[in-house]
Amino acid sequence: MPLNAVNDFVIRFANVNGSGSASANELFARAIMRMGVPVAPRNVFPSNIQGLPTWYEIRVSEEGRLGARGGTDFMVAMNPQTFNADVISIEPDGYLMYDSTRTLPPGQLRSDITVIGMPLTAICNAHYSDPRQRQLFKNIICIGALSALLDLDFAEVEKLIGEQYRGKDKLIEPNITALHLGRDYARAHFACPLGLRVRRADKVGDRILIEGNAAAALGAVYGGATVCAWYPITPSSSLAEGFARFCRRFRHDPASGEARYAIVQAEDEIASIGMVIGAGWNGARAFTATSGPGISLMQEFFGFAYFAEIPAVIFDVQRAGPSTGMPTRTQQCDLISCAYASHGDTKHVLLLPEDATEAFEFGADAFDLADRLQTPVFVLLDLDIGMNQRLCRPLQWDDARRYDRGKVLTAADLDRIKEFGRYTDVDGDAIPYRTYPGTHPNKGAFFTRGTSHDARARYSENGATYVEGMQRLLRKQETAKKLLPRPVRRAAAAPTRFGAIYYGSTSPAMTEAAEILARRGHGLDLMRVRAFPFHQDVASFIADHDFVFVVEQNRDGQLRMLLVNEIGIDPVRLVPVLHYDGASITARFIANAIGGSIDTLQVAPLRKALS
């Protein structure tokens, strides 16, 4: 019995890299979204260049499930190289569409799936003579066929094509024709629609579909970043490139054409962070975007900026490590290396957005925080957030918002005060005052150094002076906690002894998993941490539960390590749930892991809640 589902299935396109399928696939996803049905698209691309396999997966979910589900209900197998594996990966009773121009050798197809042979190449060859056109329109013909098979609103698809080629009107017509070719063939040869289908709903609202890296780049623009220094690395490059794109659009003086920003593609990550720190020291808002290997290289400078108290913003789009690891696969494996980056006793501020909207918000906030706290601020994204389009809340900006440049003394301030001490804790919040170079002819200049220094920035190896400085840096973390985004807590339907802590891209899968578990009778309170150092609420949350699952995407349980280390709790009460194969974590995985654990933990019935 073929799968039957409305607005709830996973479709996957197996493509050849460089075949021009990306925009057609996105068109398809967006058309479903326009019908008011939430979509969660994901790129699955091995670390390779032209000619090798890539996949594009869309989870269609009226309920709004945005996490990866796992499994494929409908496979569009356009890559001969991966054909066999793709067919095997289809869920029982699922569907397969393939290019039937050439017949497949017998025995390759499964008997339980519905096979749709579309002679895509033949249709293309019959209608187009230009080889490039044949390739490109094949993708559109395919979308046309799918639209008929899955019952998409054709008007929406056509409208999207019109929007996509706005200004290039000559391209609209032939694309629409290709779309019709696919639709008409499908209608003539298959029973349309299939058991899987899309039906107009009203579940998208005002949400937008945007990549995390693009949103973070916009955050940097809105947050007032003027200097960007970076070195290309997957999956962070599109963040810096996005910043360049938005700056070209928004930051050129209309009259003179001059740029109100500077972007340097540095020679390496060490130089990138050096430039960011130099710019931050000199009063500009500056950032870099990188990934794990870049974080490794930047370590010495992180320690410097921490100790010399210089603002800097670092976007780390995490990928699978160690070493070069899996460059195009997602993980959350830089938590420890960022939190404690560099030698000696260091501790940094981390922001942990869950999606593109938060990447925008935290991206902008990071600059205020870095200036306010005079320290590096890391925004930790991952490939799953950064390089996939995610349905999320629209980006918002309050025009009344003013940049918080932190404690910076002007020449007038310097004239007023008796004595300037760069590292003096004047206000008791452990944040000292700074001056930008060139501010005043004879007051406020100081020497910035990575060697230990006294309150007036003078070199000092005096033990007491050193300890005093280090203690103040620790106290600064307490101030930071008050400024950072608070964790988000969500209670189970009924009191429970179990909690789960997670962060970032785990969010949608975790939410879904909690619902699956609730249906199985396992209530779970949730806490999503959004920043490090941890807010007091995190400790309270753990205290409120007998066992807390710490769900994250790395082998060693880095979030759990940080919790144990920073909050000082009995590690036994923190149960690791770890997913680190490089694919996005799924609700199925989390629910199975936690469900299995709960069964073996043998926790006594809840007494606390009853008393």
């Binding site: 979204m33 326009r34 937008i208 579909l209 945007i210 916009l218 623009v221 809105y222 007032g224 003027t226 200097v227 220094a229 928004f250 930051r251 001059e258 740029a259 109100r260 920003y261 340097v264 020679e267 060490i270 130089a271 990138s272 962070i273 050096g274 430039m275 960011v276 720190i277 130099g278 710019a279 931050g280 020291w281 000199n282 009063g283 500009a284 500056a286 010495e300 400078f301 629209p394 980006l395 918002q396 900006w397 309050d398 003013r402 940049y403 001056t435 930008y436 170079p437 060139g438 005043h440 002819p441 200049a445 100081f446 020497f447 910035t448 150094r449 990575g450 070199y459 000092s460 190896e461």
Partner: protein, 351 residues
Amino acid sequence: MTYLAKPKFHHPSLPKNALGYTRRDYEASTSTLCAGCGHDSISAAIIEACFELSIEPHRVAKISGIGCSSKTPDYFLGASHGFNSVHGRMPSVLTGANLANRDLIYLGVSGDGDSASIGFGQFAHAMRRGVNMTYIVENNGVYGLTKGQFSATADRGSKSKKGAVNTDSAIDLVAMALQLGATFVARSFSGDKKQLVPLIKAAIEHRGSAFIDVISPCIAFNNHPGSTKSLDYVRAHNEAVNRLDIMTGREPIFVDYAPGEVVSVRQHDGSVLSLRKLNDDYDPTDRLAAMNFLQRHAAQGQIVTGLLYVAAEAADLHDHCNTVAVPLNRLGEAELCPGSAALDAINAGLR
């Protein structure tokens, strides 16, 4: 505690420059380097150059790496901000600082270990980017601060204090700077203040990457027979190509040497470099010839000093980036933030 504040005692009869500053205004804390270290002479030359140029001391940002040489910014221009960065990374920090505020004068101080070894990449890229700065390498052929290891500028065959012979060939930072596109390239000697001070002045006035390699003998670890960076060796092998006078555009320009002996190069800001030729065949505006000249003399064991190359109309990194004239660190929300309406339009395009 090695910080030694210098007493601020102003003698009323001290000569003043155009802005009314005395030399003392360009000094800072007392040096803690070895007595007689070449680096201290360079600090003195920097003080002299800034005094003579009537620079407002606080308009200078002095940035260094790590090493004895990189400690020196503590010993001059006490009224300006200093930045003692990490080993070999002065150029990137300076580049970032320069991008943030194009209005200051950037002075980068580095050692040969700092620039030719760990920081070789950053040195190269700062040169090719045309960062507007004066980049001074205090070149002693050794690692001073870590006590006498060979640096990458030590000549092949030269000897360490303990008698070890260097078997690696040397990196010539001047040749590199020429090759990498620096628009002002010079070499001097810490013991030749007459040559060094005008070179520093000219480098400061130059817009673009100005590089000066200053041979600066390390008294403690590299001033023995067998070293090619010792005082005696450099004095004996110094071949000066020119002497420099610099006149800023604000002053009347005059040339008091007979034509033929003097080359004048007009700079971006209107200042004029007038070069008294010591070498008849030397043309400091010909990059290729400069490279040739340098290599030819190096082969003869000569250390060529003077202004080796200068591009008259150089562009700097800000020109390449087309940045606004207002320093980026001064821009506010109005200039930087596209506002909610633009964001609404972006949102609309993503539905």
